[in-house]
């Protein structure tokens, strides 16, 4: 009896020990996987860029070594740096000015289809830039609907908006693209606002502007600023939009890097600009993270007591009536601005481009058995590639992000050690750095690193998938981490005390609790992969082209119906994919 007891004890001890070993093993494997992934696909290519920038002998020809400052102060490069800042700042400003009231109205009023409206506003954000551009050209271009209408009404032959070669065009598209980001982030800000303070201030006789400046602004400031910085970063690194609309007159740093490396073969100069861009981006990201941390602290222990009211026009003062009508009109205008380019694309795809042509001609052409010469491959192939890349990139992204979360949140050895270790800080930063790297820089790094290996020359699709994954990992990790931080630590400690292994805890407790974060991360990864244009066009060749590249090529066909049809297909696929991800992720809830 005694003997078997001690045997049991020993066994238990042994299994405990084994378990500990296994857990350690798992963590080591996780760390190694992560480190080798980041090192092999991000840091080595980055080092390669650095070596091109500072070591002239790496260049392919006998070009004279460019000096850092001569490259930056070359008028074209300097112009692109200034323009990047300028357009990003103005776009950000307009987004905030337009987005804040939208968020206010949405949070303050109940109306049928409110959730749908908010979700639909997000659609432009996840669309490929090429589709957005296309829709914009149809709606607001030189011969766009708006300008035609304007010319017809006024009859003076001047168009209202000049989209090509002007900053206005680029900024307009950027606003369209990023407006939803501000709206989304400002809704919780308005909902969590302490309205008692506002009322007190009003009772004490403060004028509206003073109330806004002294009471409201300090409370919503961090939400708005962190969203604004996000918008700034996106606009700062804009590629496809600046490339198509900027003509050669307006170039962002991103376009400049692309031109220097891909067209002029001046690797050194491009690499120097890429490093400069990386420095700027890192600064913005650090600012963003700092603000976000403050936002999170402010949001803690706060419950929204705010109840939205529905529109009512009876038994109310005319001022209130007018206010509500204003709100409705404003929301309608924002809705029109956000949806019209998308609807334009769909309508155009069903508009026959000539007599005796059916409205479905574009689709028939795309899906006929013969390959379209212009595409170099069949439409099915493009759809297959797009979905395959997106699925693989999403799986890899989620896997790696989980690894990161697993490592960062693993309290296995440090249950009593509440201080964040240096390792954790380094790891944190090394994960964020890819986020600060623009997609062209990433593609350039991968390209310079792998250009002579078979990975690039014959298996380029792997590189495209990995590049997509690399771009989405920081976002997915943040989404997962956000939901992870909400898990009650006690729960894990209890499970641990009851003898559950680390893996079991992860599988049974943590994973179900972070499902929503995973879902958001997956949607992010999928959307980024489907829409990615810059890096893909850098790495792709005709045989593994994607739908968004295909649309770009079809723009040179003799009809706009073909690219519009393909853009509609892309829209449809995007919607369906999100629906499916939502269904998969949302079940058992």
């Amino acid at each position: 009896m005694n003997f078997s007891d001690s045997l049991l004890d020993k066994n238990q001890n042994l299994s405990k020990k084994w378990e500990k070993q296994i857990n350690t093993g798992f963590i080591i494997i996780a760390v190694v996987l992560l480190v080798s992934f980041l090192l092999g696909l991000f840091y080595l290519p980055l080092i390669r860029i650095f070596s091109y920038a500072f070591n002239p002998s790496m260049g392919t020809s006998t070009e004279t070594p460019p000096s850092f400052f001569s490259v930056i102060f070359q008028p074209l490069n300097l112009g692109s740096i200034i323009f990047s800042f300028k357009q990003a700042f103005i776009s950000m400003l307009f987004c905030v000015v337009l987005g804040l009231p939208t968020g206010y109205f949405i949070s303050h009023y109940k109306f049928p289809g409110k959730r749908f409206f908010v979700n639909a506003l997000t659609i432009p954000f996840i669309l490929p830039p090429i589709v957005v551009l296309f829709g914009f050209i149809i709606t607001y271009g030189d011969q766009g609907w708006l300008n035609l209408w304007w010319i017809r009404t006024l009859g003076n032959g001047h168009s209202l908006i000049k989209l090509y070669g002007t900053s206005e065009g680029i900024i307009l598209v950027h606003i369209f693209y990023n407006l939803s980001l501000i709206i989304r982030m400002s809704i919780p800000a308005w909902e969590l606002l302490d309205y008692d303070q506002v009322h007190v201030a009003q009772t004490l006789g403060a004028r509206p502007f003073l109330v806004f400046r002294k009471v409201i602004w300090p409370q919503i400031k961090n939400y708005i600023l962190s969203a604004a910085i996000m918008v700034f970063i996106y606009c700062f690194n804009s590629f496809a939009i600046a490339m198509y609309l900027g003509e050669a007159k307006l170039q962002t740093i991103e376009v400049r890097i692309y031109k220097l490396i891909k067209i002029n073969l001046k690797f050194g100069n491009g690499a120097i600009l890429a490093i400069l861009q990386l420095v700027f981006n890192t600064a913005f990201i650090i600012l963003y993270l700092w603000l976000e941390k403050h936002t999170r602290q402010m949001a803690e222990n706060k419950e929204s007591q705010f109840i939205a009211s529905s529109f009512h026009f009876k038994n109310t003062s005319w001022v209130n009536c007018l206010k509500q009508i204003g709100a409705i009109l404003y929301l309608l205008a924002i809705g029109f601005f956000s949806f019209s380019p998308l609807i334009a694309v769909i309508i155009l795809s069903f508009t026959p481009f000539g007599p005796e042509i059916s409205p479905f001609w574009g689709y028939q052409q795309l899906f006929s058995s013969t390959n379209l010469n212009l595409l170099g491959t069949s439409t099915f192939n493009l759809i297959k590639n797009t979905l395959l890349f997106a699925t693989c990139a999403t799986i890899i992204t989620i896997f790696i992000s989980l690894l990161i979360v697993f490592i960062l949140r693993n309290r296995f050895n440090r249950i009593n050690n509440y201080r964040t270790s240096i390792v954790e800080n380094v790891l944190n930063f090394s994960i964020i750095l890819p986020m600060a790297t623009s997609s062209i820089t990433l593609a350039v790094g991968l390209f310079l690193q792998f250009k002579s290996t078979a990975l690039y020359t014959s298996q380029g699709w792997i590189l495209i998938i990995l590049c997509h994954a690399l771009i989405s990992i920081p976002f997915a990790t943040r989404a997962i981490m956000a939901s992870y931080n909400r898990i009650d630590l006690e729960l894990l400690n209890v499970a641990s005390t009851l003898g559950a292994s680390r893996l079991r805890i992860f599988w049974k407790i943590e994973l179900p609790l972070i499902r929503k974060g995973l879902l958001v991360g997956a949607i992010f990864a999928f959307a980024i992969s489907i829409g990615e244009f810059g890096a893909t066009s850098f790495l792709a060749r005709a045989d593994f082209s994607t739908l968004s590249l295909g649309i770009g090529k079809l723009l040179s066909s003799r009809t706009l119906q073909l690219p519009a049809s393909m853009a509609t297909i892309l829209l449809l696929i995007t919607f369906l994919s999100f629906y499916i991800i939502n269904v998969i992720g949302g079940k058992n809830k």
Binding site: G40, I90, D142, Y244, K249, I263, S458, R541
Partner: protein, 410 residues
Amino acid sequence: MKRSISTVLFLVFCIIFPITYVRQGSALMGPNNAATDSQLTIYTYESLLDDPGFDYIGAFANYSGISKDAINLVLMDDANSIVSQATLEKDSPVADVLIGLDNVLVHTAKEKDILQPYNSPALSNISNDLISNLDPDKYLLPYDYGIISLFYDSHWFNDTVVPNLDNLTLQDLADLDLDKKLIIEDPTLSSTGLGFLLWTIAVFGDPTINFDGILGQDWRSWWDTTKDDLRIAPSWGAAFSEWWDAPQNRSLMVSYGTSPAYSAVLYDDPSQSAWISHENNSSNAWLQIEGLGLVKNAPHESLAKDFIDWFLSTELQDHIATNNWMYPANIHAAIDPVFASSSINPDDVNILNNLLTPTIIAQNLDQWQTDWETVIAGNWNSISGFPVGWLIFGMIGVVSIIFLNRKYRN
């Protein structure tokens, strides 16, 4: 103690694993290299012979008896990408043949040392002028040619809209505000656009290098006066879709002297025309010659040579005119009579290439492209007349308001 050992082991593992992984990656992938299971690799641009389309790979497979799958055709976005890809692979070439470099890009290709000369027997059927204007050293062999022109639809653009249309000069385009109707391609991105840039340089001249051109002026001033009126598209395709979509808005585009033949041959529609400039009583145009070349240290040299010979023979050249919409280089190649009557024959015009020789281009091309971008980007400092200074001022204002706010609160 145990822990420190495992830490060290772990760190070593961390460092070694990625390196072996990267190394192995290339080693493992190596045998899968397309070059081993194909006998010929060709790099070209996407639109080669594609409209309405001639299957040159299938035709060469038939001719040579190798299977179609053994030919690895890699389609790049444009000719620039072909050169950059081949340059990057210079140490271990993958491609055997490059198709689609023109008489400007040939300088880059030669400078990067990616081609080797090949004196093909098929050259006997090609005019000497063409060979010497493309590359006398025969690194690149001409397969087609055509002049750069401004392409228009005569419904929108004709003698009644613009009197004396055929005798206008480039300067007239600017003076008559016709540049507001013009779509060009970015010369830093597109070879057609580059051809047009060289056209303007040859006509106006460049005082900075003491090159007089025809008029002895400065090409930069023409671009400076027109830059705000022009529409600059990133590629020929993008330019074309805009031109096609709204001809009443932009009715002129930089294209080829052979472009009108497309609708004339395929749709029996002779309404499209091409325009070239008329300085000093002669019609002046820039000639673009496209060529193909044998890659230096090509893995399959003999088959590559067979392919080049075949590409210059009438078996392929007969298809050039009505599929690639250029004049075939082979003098015996068939040319559709409608094609000939509807396009501008380079033999009938004063070719500016004789003025702007390959040596001058090779020396100045880089500087010209940078100068062009600088001239075009001239107005980056303002946003529709809204100077940057105000903006920086505004930025400072916003930042100071934020900080003041904080100060008041505390």
